[in-house]
């Protein structure tokens, strides 16, 4: 259903993006952590691209560097033919109008002293979009309605008077006020109750169809990623290790890490005796990246071979539109 809306034209292209964080800076030595490591991927127009991975995999850092809340250490982010990494003041402001972010915590992302209506109106004032006050107020009401809210009751309320779901709808209305092309959503529903989540997700899907929006959707929930995304990228310790169309990735994972993630989803009927015997010990000390050579997943990989400990695999196209960074990908269509 969504596929015909997507065209192959990319809206955003990320090339060899790396983000380092300095962990301790001394006189002689500077330690840093590479949170995003040489990531290359693109978001197509009208598509929702999911990024899944565990905490610390770099997915939030990736999202934040796309909206330039974090300045990348190296690499390019190409939007509309231009590299935005070195954008500043006016060009950055215009870029940020077109690429909006929805944060995880609707309790913290709204100003507690600003009424819901004002929160939606503010971005338009900052960007000087609708200068006529009356028209702007009308637009606020229209946006609130679009977000599934009743404008006359909600507009004058403060965030603390609203539920988590309502607040996230305000965040969406606020982002939409600038008519963006791309929304970066970082775990937009993980703080909400299960019964509320799907309402927000369905709203985001509706908005996508109505405005031909593109999304980068960050989540740790594979079920949700399947429901919302056209393609999914799996991140592991700063790298994209697999990237494919949603159903293809979930049914034919090629990277062992993707397979591990899928097998770990609870409630899939393996509550049986088969694995009762192997209660795994946990002795993991956090392994630092510079202690790993070769593939970064090899210490946890059950298929690891000699080559995996020596050479780091690149993310390559194993099959059309199915990329994996693995020397010995699983589930190949033509495997012997």
């Amino acid at each position: 259903m969504t596929a015909d809306l997507s065209s192959d034209k990319d809206i955003l292209e990320i090339k060899n993006l790396s983000v380092n964080f300095v962990t301790s800076a001394g006189i002689l030595k500077r330690n840093s952590v590479r949170a995003v490591d040489n990531v290359t991927l693109s978001i197509r127009k009208g598509e929702s691209l999911g990024i899944v991975g565990e905490s610390g995999s770099g997915k939030t850092t990736l999202a934040r560097s796309i909206v330039r809340l974090i300045r990348p250490t190296s690499g390019q982010i190409i939007f509309d033919g231009q590299d935005i990494v070195d954008f500043y003041s006016r060009s950055l402001k215009e870029y940020r109008r077109r690429v909006q972010m929805i944060f995880q915590d609707p309790y913290e992302s709204l100003n507690p002293r600003s009424r819901a209506g004002d929160a939606v109106e503010e971005p338009m004032m900052i960007h000087g979009l609708i200068r006529d006050k009356k028209l702007r107020k009308d637009r606020v009401f229209e946006l609130l309605r679009l977000a599934g809210l009743n404008p006359s009751t909600v507009a004058r309320k403060y965030p603390h008077e609203l539920s988590g779901g309502e607040r996230q709808r305000i965040s969406l209305a606020r982002a939409l006020s600038l008519s963006p092309d791309l929304l970066i959503a970082d775990e937009p529903v993980s703080m909400l109750d299960v019964s509320i989540r799907i309402g927000i997700i369905n709203l985001m899907l509706d908005l996508k169809r109505t405005f031909n929006l593109s999304y980068l959707f960050i989540t740790h929930d594979l079920g949700l990623a399947r429901y919302f995304c056209d393609r999914i990228g799996v991140m592991y310790r700063g790298r994209v290790v697999e990237l494919a169309a949603t159903e293809d990735l979930l049914h034919r994972p090629m990277h062992p890490y993707t397979k591990l993630l899928i097998d770990s989803v609870p409630g899939r009927g393996q509550n049986g005796a088969d694995e009762e015997g192997k209660v795994t010990a946990d002795s993991s000390r956090p392994v630092k990246m510079d202690q790993i050579s070769g593939c970064r997943f090899n210490p946890r990989c059950e298929y690891a071979q000699e080559k995996c400990r020596e050479i780091e695999p690149d993310l390559v196209e194993i099959e059309p539109d199915h990329l994996a960074a693995c020397h010995f990908p699983l589930n190949r269509a033509h495997s012997v």
Binding site: E54, V194, G267, S284
Partner: protein, 315 residues
Amino acid sequence: MTVEYATERGPLRAVDDVSLEMKEGEVLGLAGESGCGKSTLAFSVLRILPKTAKTFGSLELDGENILKMDDSEIRRFRWKSVSLVPQGSMNAFDPVIPIGAQIVEAIKTHEDVNTTEAWQTTRKLFTLLGIPEDRVKNYAHEFSGGMRQRAAIAMALALDPKLVILDEPTTALDVVVQKQILALLRHLQKTLHISFIFITHDLSVLADIATRIAVMYAGRIVEIGPQEQLFSNPRHPYSKALISAIPTIDGPKSETKAIPGIPPDLISPPNGCRFNPRCPFVFEKCKQVEPVLEEVGSNVEAACHLLTMVRDRSS
């Protein structure tokens, strides 16, 4: 049992007239959304509710009424008979005291043992929980999230309780680690024959651990039954809606529907069934009479007028 909190706007019934029995060795899953009363219910078993809370009814463990115990009795009862793994306890270890020493301290507070014995117990607990014994002197920052959660569970098991209450024990963990912890809990429950109350907002986790599941809504249990039954054949409209609101990675990719509306204000809950303003099957009686839990299938009880009516018609 009923638990009321005194608030500025009047009494708030967080748990309203709930009756429930647990057998030995059972893993009872307590599921529901925030504010449904699941944590209040669990905390009342340990009598660790805040001072503003009033508890009515009775609560018995092995025939002893917990609500009637005096302070010294309850102190002996807590941790020894029933212990708790609070939500976020994995992050509650003191960062400047080795984790093992914190468990030793807990053991010595409750039991008349010397330091050497307490260390021995702690080492045994570490092994039992799959943490290498030589890590007892490590500090919290030297443990991964999964290991800290294991240590938090070890602490709850230190005095060999009959019942352990786990409040969202896997919520903060990544799926891979969550799966390991669930397997570990199943293993402990089988080998030690203890009972668990497992509180979670995530029903799908319960599929991997619970023998029985109680679904709570607005302070009441709306459905309780064997785990398999709840997933394969949820009866109460709320349980049904809750299960279908979770997108899965298997099976057909169908349009998932949200439950319209929001949970009610517990200070002035709606008349009749509390779910009626959000229920797609609501009829007149639901708005007037509050339904009670009744058997609607083999071992399955639900509080729903529609289900009772269907049952009575078919019999």
